[in-house]
Assembly symmetry: C2
Homo-oligomer: 136 residues x 2
Amino acid sequence: MKDCVFCRIIAGEIPAAKLIETDVVLSFLDIAPVNPGHCLVVPKRHVATLLELSQDELNICIFTVQRLAGAAARATGAVGFNVLQNNGRCAGQIVPHVHFHIIPRSPDDGFKFGWREGSYAEGELEEVQRGIRKLL
Amino acid sequence: MKDCVFCRIIAGEIPAAKLIETDVVLSFLDIAPVNPGHCLVVPKRHVATLLELSQDELNICIFTVQRLAGAAARATGAVGFNVLQNNGRCAGQIVPHVHFHIIPRSPDDGFKFGWREGSYAEGELEEVQRGIRKLL
């Protein structure tokens, strides 16, 4: 897609520090990393969200994430990592071309994901459960 | 594993609001949700991190995540979602049994992941790239 920065990286129009490239996916270093070694796995076909990936694309993406995560962590001296995949602007997705973040983590890296622990009112959990199951 | 809360849920010893169950994975609602519909996808075999999953387990997990994410978002009126998968205590992993969070998101949900945009010193990006590629 013409205006998509990831499509332009895939097409070679914008440079990137590439890591793994196959017919289906490209992975490269994020240039504004949360931590050193923060990288992205991107399917070459332009689709916006995880929901639009074929089963083959899904499999190849997650296999590439696994393969890369261990290497990115070890290469940067990290002892853990996050995989984060945002879908939709409200979920923090900036580039509307589906991508997986791999973020190497260390105890002293000073980074914290925001988190909150909500709760369900009485009966609400079961209602949400029924609502989801109906759509599966 | 005896002391693992997810293994105990899988074994039926602790109740959970189950969503999808196969021979390989179980998914259920998180009882302390970031947002309503926040659910977890967990392989039945106890391993700590993504790195230890077999290719089959990986494929089934990510397919279950995809299948569930759309339903969880629609059932709760969300328009986006995050998939988050933490590996290691320093990465925010509380239960040391690999799991994928699916978090439905809406523009007005008041939740923000922390984020920061770092940068590389001159030559550092290429050095990190070489370091990772050497380990692939």
